[in-house]
Structures are given as C-alpha cells and as structure tokens.
Symmetry: D2
Subunit: 284 residues, 4 copies
C-alpha cells in the first residue's frame, strides 16, 4: 500500500557497503523530506531501498529530485528513480481470446482501483473486440497468422504511438521475439496459468490434471528472452479436489490468474518492484 | 464444480431416517439416470442431498422429473427441486456508489464465467450509470431520498418486470424492509464487507483498524429480516499489516468482497446451497 | 471430519454404471444402517463411494459387514473395505536427522489428535533418538551406510514385527527400493519438501531460491517406484518474500511440511482416500 | 526472518519528525555497522523502526550499544532496545488441560525451531504432567480451586524464580488478575481460540457453529487488563464446511491455534513486534 500522504517515491539499488542508509536518508533530511515508509534489504552484496514520504518544504518536481540525487547516485554506483504516487501509468494490453484477465484489468482501470491509464488493447483475435469497444478502449486487431517479424512490427508501432510505461500480456498466447523485447525497451508483465516452475509450456491444466495436484496456481512475471523463465513478481494458488475436470480447473484457474495479475500490476504501480539478476525484490 | 456431462441436478432435504438414500437413488435408477456426483449429509435429524448426473434413456423435461418425484417427496416430507445445469439464472443487481463489486459480476456475466442472465442494474446513485450503460445492461436509477415504502415500491416493480431468480446486493448500502423481503419472494444475496460476525454494522474497516486485526474479510449471505444475521454462504479473508490505513483496507477489502460475492453466486448457480434453520449446507 | 455418531465407514470403487448408488444404499437400508454422510464421485468410467453411518439394529462386526457385502462386490466388480472409525491405525515412522516432522506426528499421537498407534520409529541417524526415547516410543537405529539390500532387510523385519497399517516417511532421506515396496505390501506415505512437481529431487529450497518463487510448499504422497511421482494426497504452500534466504525457507518450509503430512495422515485415518491410476480421490 | 549474518537487532519508536532515519542510521554508520535490513513505518505521528545488521569493526556488547545510543534516544524521546539475535528467550508456559498448544511449543523448543529456553510449565491440571515430565521440562502444578490471590502468588513465585523474558498462555483457561499483570512486569502472550473480535468469551466454537460461519480462526495477542482486548500479534483462519460439528471445529481449530501461537512467538523472538496504543507493529 502507498501511504495516503506520500508525495514522492524513491527506488534504488547499488553495491552494498556500510553507511548507505545514512548517506541516502541524510540527503532526504537535508531536503526537509519526511520519510513515511522506508524498506531496505541487502543480499548477496547488493543493497535495495524504497522510500516514500512527503515534503515539509516547497514541492519539488520529479525532475528536480532526479537531478539533485544524481551526484550521490554516481558516488554510490546506484540505479535509482523517483516517482509521483499519483501518476497514472500508461499501459498497453495484449490479449488473445480469453476475456477474463483483460476484463479484470479494464474493470480495475474503470473503478480506479489500479492507477493506470489504459491506452490500447491489442489482440490477435476478434473475440473480445465488442466488449472492449463498448468500454471505449481503443482496440487494435493484429492477426498473427503472418510471419512474426511482420506482425510484431505492427505491434511495435502501436507501442510507439501510445508510449506506454508498461505492456501487460493478459493471456496473450504468442511468444514475443527477442527483437521485439529489445525494440520495446519497456517492462512487459505476463501472467502464466500455472504455479511456475511447475507445468512450463502448453496446457498446464491438462498436465496438472494428469499429475493429480491438489492446488493449481498462477504466476505473474517479467518477460525475458527465456520463455516462462523471467523474474517472478507474484504467485498464488487455489485448492482443487479430485472432482475437478480440466474444464473446472480452467474456470477456477481463471479466477486466480486475474487476481495474481492484478496484484502484480498494483505492486508495479506502487513502485515496489526491483529486478535484479533473475529475481525480484517486492517490497511490502 | 458441475460435471461437464451432467444434465440434471436434484436438491432435497427432509427429516432423517434409515433408507432415504436407497429410496431416492432407487427412484433415479428406475429412470435409467446415471448419478455422476452424489453428496449427502445428515445433521440434527435433517437429511440433505444433492445429486447430479445424466440420462441414459430419453431426455425428460424438468417438469416431468418434478412430477415423477412428487409422490416420493410427499412420502418423505421432502422439500426438493430439479434444475437444468445449463440454465442461466435471471439476476437483478442492486448497487450504490461502489463500482468494484458490480463490475465483477458484470465481467463474469460477459465472460460467461457466471451462468447468469443479468436483467437489470438498480442503483440509488448515478455514479455507475455510464459504465453500466456502455455494457448495455438496463440501468434503473431509484433514488432513496424519499420514504422507504415509496422507493421500494419502484424497486419491486423492476423485480416484477424482470422476474429474476435471484437479487444480488453488490454493495447496496440501504437496508431492505421486511415487507420488501416478503413481497420479493426470491432469494437475495448480500455481500458484507467484514468477516461476520466481526464488525457488524457501519464502517467495518474503521472498526478493524482500531482493533488492530491482522486479517480483514468479507461475507456473502442470504438476506433476512435481521441485519447481517442471514445464513452465511461464503467467507474469505486477506492478510493486512500494521502499515495499512483505513483507505488501504478498503482497497484490499474491495478485492476480497468481489471474490467472495462471485464465489457465492457460482455456488448458487451450481445449485449447491440449501438453507436450513439459519445456516447453509454448501456442497463441494 | 468423521461424524461423531458414525460406527462404520465403507469405501469402494468399481466400473461405473447406472443404478450403483441404489444397489449399494439398498444393501445398507436392508441392514437398518443409517447413512450419515455419503460422497460419491464418477470420473473416466470409474465410480468411487464413501459411506459412514450408524447401525439402528444390533452392532455387527467389521468381519460380518465384509462377508455380507461380498456378493454385491463380486457382482459389481468392486474393491471395497469396511472400517471402524474408532480403530487406531498401527504406524511405523521412518526418519533421518530432521526433528520437526517426526515430532509433529509424535505430538499428535500423544495428544490424541491423530487416531494412530505409533509402534516404532526407525532412523538411519542417532540425532533424534534421545527425544524419541524420552517419549517412550521404541526407537530403532538402522544405519544406511551398508548396501541397500542389507539395511532394508532390517527395516522390513521391524515392519514385520510391528504389523503396521501404514509406514510414514517423516523426512526420511533415502529412496526405498522397488523390492522393499513389494515386500512391505502396505501403504507408505512420504512428505516431500516442495510443491510437486516443482523442484523434484534434491535441495528444493536451493532451487526455489534461485528461481525466485514467491510461495514454497510441501506435498504428501503415496510412495511408488517412481521417485516423487506417487499419487498426491495433500499439498499446501506458504508465502515467502525476497528477504528469505535458503535457511529461512527451510525454517518456514518445515512448518508447512509438518502440517501437510499431518493433514494427509488425518485423511488416511478417516478413510477418505482412494488411489486410482496415479491420482487420489480424497473425500471431504 | 532474521538475516543469518545479523549480529545486532535494534528496535525503537518515538514521535515522528523529519530527519529521524538520517539521525539513527548516521549513528550506526559512525559505528561501522552494516545495516542488512531496515524497516521503518510512520503513522499517526509516531515513528517505528527496526534495524538488523553486522558489525564491520570490533564486536561490541549489547550493553555498550545501549549506552552509546542513550544520548540520541533522549534527544528523540525514543523508547528503544538492542538484542542479540542468537539469544534464547527465557519462557514460562501456563497451560490447563489441552495438550496440543503446549506440545507445539515444546516440540519447537526441542527441534530448535523456536529460539527459546523453556524454563517451566505451570498448569492448574495434572493431565499434561506425564508428557511434560518425560521431556524433562520442570512441571509445576498450581491448582486454581482456591482464591485467585492465593494461587496467583504461587504462580508469581515460579516466575520470579525463573526470570522469564516472556510468559506464554498456551490455552490456559483462567483469567489473570490486574495485580498479577502489574506484578509480573513482562510481556504475556495468549492464544485465543477464535478470530477476534468474533466470538469473545467462552465456547467460541459453539458460537461459530450456531452462526454458521465458513471459516474459524485463532488470535495471538498480548494480555492486558481487558479480556480478549489486548493488542493482536497474529491471526489466521481455516475453512470449514457445513459438515463440521462443534467437535470437528475444535479439532481443526486446535491446528490453527498452535500455528498462530508459534508464529507469534517466532515474531517475538525475532524482535519484530512493537506495541503502541492497543495495536502492534509487526515487521516482516
């Protein structure tokens, strides 16, 4: 959760050493910044920190904060960013035929529950077009029957036009090419319909049925070149019984998929996620 | 879950005695009915049973089943019903200002995830009208500033016109009068934004904050004359931490409210609920 | 849960066809047996049933029930069993160095929470001997440094002497040979310290850390010749964060392991599990 | 979780103002202390902080740390403490007849899972004496049939002799008097067998059955003069069905009670809890 009174969020990570907290919080104290929540974690020689709070003095722009902190970041060899908690993230959503995940994101955008600005919905099928259009979200149909290079060029163009902060794959059933990922240059979050690393690949519910598992799950992760191997953001599971057919699992699984995806997006919009070496730090 | 091959669901309850299962399943065997799932439970002298399965012989109508079973029901003093698992329940939804629960039900109706036919949305506010209308659900604005008798008459008229099987209160913030309940004569399911019986009444999140609880919850229940005292259908909770403000609780609470309400409706549409003496039997 | 008034539990499975429930419950009605709970499930042409209840007439022995039902079982080609819910299952427990799972089973045996009769504890290490002996459970040290054939012969001898209904592997770290399984001829339940099929084999917590999962779990399953591939009885997970080291995961994992193992044993003692074709039916 | 490399834990809270983090972490940087985890939270004008880490320079005693920090604490009007994460807390446990919670604590003490030193078990009944004595824990039988003043004097004497850091009420069924609490002057943690504030007082499972709830829970809290009103440390719930009798609820409830109590004690031994105005801050 983001503190209601917070005006600035700071995220950073750098090589660990003694005195980092003092150096960083000293900077904020000098700016008359009141820290409302601070989480810091060190692991394997790396230091991760998230700070949120309010300005006691005059409001300064994000740009000013970035510039003022720059010398410290150089000194500490730190990757860092400043954010306005009230800013809505620009999002482009990729879908296929399944309606439940896309509708969840659209609903939370409409209800204000997710602080996003949904710019466009891209799908390789027409199934969800009527509902999306009714809700006045721009819909782009990009079929994927042609060569990947050709249809990905169209997708990248939509991204270019909408300048999103984030692409969400809401049960988009095609694999993005490495060149797409390079060209897009923004974070991409995918929802996988299994508790990874169980049941990688196709038909996880079919696999789960055959193995007779008693819980099925979903995993939200950043997309990297390695299929289903990107850094995990959030996971959850739901209990199933022997009486569940594959169809039942799909239905119950759809519930957990959309909850997991929505939770991951909330963490992302609250600027609580840092990626590092194939894992994520997700602050509380 | 309902078995994919099921064609008929039977629900019944009566005073318990030896031989009831044999009597009832004997009837179904005589009709060449293949029982795919049977759950039976006895408690405090009452016998509860749910059967679903498929017809090996010629398909018979629900009406035929009801008539054929009638003599046995008389003999056993049993309340019973037969249902078609593919039938969509007609639903009228009551709302106020909050969008998240109504949108969940609408989304699940659109995605086919809930087997319902959403006939009308009634609200005492105009906040959610634009979204509801976009989705082509008939919207009725019934303000509640006048006397209860007068606006409830309008609500009852909408119910009469739509002949729903069920009314859903999706965060409708007014208490229904006893005469409304009598006149409506159909089940009404409400979502309460606390883990009942904790925090009965107003502002449960405010109460939860002050008490410092570590979990907040939601409760779906049938509406009876006693406020927040109706038979509970489903409940769930979510973990919160010390850092959660009342506003944060409301946001996280909204997630659990909509999940609990949707689960309760799914159980209802699957004909898995029997009310008895202030409690519910909810079959798996 | 087992109904407090139940005197007999019946479990059976056979090829599915119309009229099975009527045939079986007709038999019980003829014996003046009052069915308190009945669960029946059909899937892939197989019929599974569990019945518990009380005798209205004179008490009959388990042996009598078995004999009386025999002709019906032949007719239906049914595997079946009758059980006394008050009977304590004779258990032999295999352990290694880890104390937490064995102590959980011992505690629940002492508190009466698990309806078992713990006959012997076998370990290939001496670490847990002092605690086990204090609690007056016979302890057998069978080192596993010699050839498998030789030490398994000693283990089988202990099993022979104690005639258990069940062997529990409470974090026993050796793989049982196929010939051991054949010779033992009783169910063997193992607890695996991961959410199978994730992280099969050694060091699942190390694997989980590297993959950066957000939940870790445990799986109780029947032991078959295929390592970690036996029919799953119960699974559960616990949420972890980025701050969890492998050591932390082991500590939290130990909690979930012992809970999952205890739950699986409770289901087993309540006669709620049927194995069939690599999966389990676990009645509620 | 406590970081494996941590050597010192610092806990503090004081009135909030700008610059507190810088002041405190500046102190630690000056002592060449490497902060491995820092959590800070501000709410309602109060600042809460927990720091753990390792000393880069020479090891200093807890006493030295306390003295060195003293001037800063005076300046900030801060309540604070320093702890050695390897120190075992001295614990006295109060019980009645129920064995499951006491056995859980004893098991976790034996397995090393809880970093405690169990000094004595006090019970007003003799039921659990045999098991406790077998495990070589000093057992004190203090019957509670006499006047409260008289038996509480005996209990206080046992506390005095054992100088515990903590008293644990592991299903002790008597209410401690206000004068006992004053005289004991150490934290007392109780496990209540319901999800507070639901079902305050006697027979919560009986109450839960009548109300027909679908989840039952347990609550670990600090004991204050107001019965069942002390600051909540941890809560959890477990799902139940219509088929659960009061006896079944007690059995399943016992599982959740012992897990909740153990989790609360772990948080306490990890020095993650700060009490403030009837609520607790429990760091992750």
């Amino acid at each position: 959760m983001t503190n209601d009174s917070s005006e600035i969020i700071f995220l950073g990570h750098c090589p660990d050493r003694v005195g980092l907290d003092a150096r960083i919080t000293g900077f904020f104290a000098g700016e008359l910044f009141n820290i409302l929540d601070l989480s810091q974690h060190s692991e394997r020689g790396r230091f991760f920190i998230r700070i949120e709070g309010s300005e006691e003095g005059a409001r300064q722009s994000i740009q000013t904060w970035i510039e003022k902190f720059f010398p410290i970041a150089c000194e500490l060899d730190m990757e860092y960013s400043f954010h306005d908690p009230l800013e809505r993230l620009r999002v482009v959503m990729f879908c296929s035929k399944t309606l439940s995940c896309p509708l969840e994101i659209i609903s939370r955008w409409l209800s204000g529950d997710l602080r996003i600005d949904l710019r466009a919905v891209v799908s390789n099928h027409l199934d969800i077009e009527p509902v999306v259009k009714k809700l006045a979200v721009p819909f782009h149909h990009v079929p994927t029957l042609t060569e990947k290079e050709s249809y990905e060029r169209k997708q990248l163009q939509i991204i270019e036009e909408n300048r999103p902060d984030l692409v969400v794959l809401a049960r988009y059933m095609k694999i993005l090419s490495g060149s797409f990922l390079v060209a897009a240059r923004i974070p991409i979050i995918n929802i996988h319909h299994s508790f990874l690393p169980s049941f990688i690949g196709n038909d996880p519910y079919e696999q789960a049925y055959r193995r007779g598992v008693k819980l099925i799950g979903a995993t939200a992760h950043f997309v990297t070149r390695d299929l289903d191997e990107g850094p995990i953001i959030h996971q959850d599971v739901v209990r199933i019984g022997h009486q569940f057919s594959v169809g039942d699992m799909k239905q119950v699984g759809a519930d957990i998929e959309k909850q997991v995806l929505a939770s991951a997006l909330r963490k992302f919009t609250e600027r609580k996620i840092i990626q590092w070496q194939g894992r994520t730090v997700v602050f509380h």
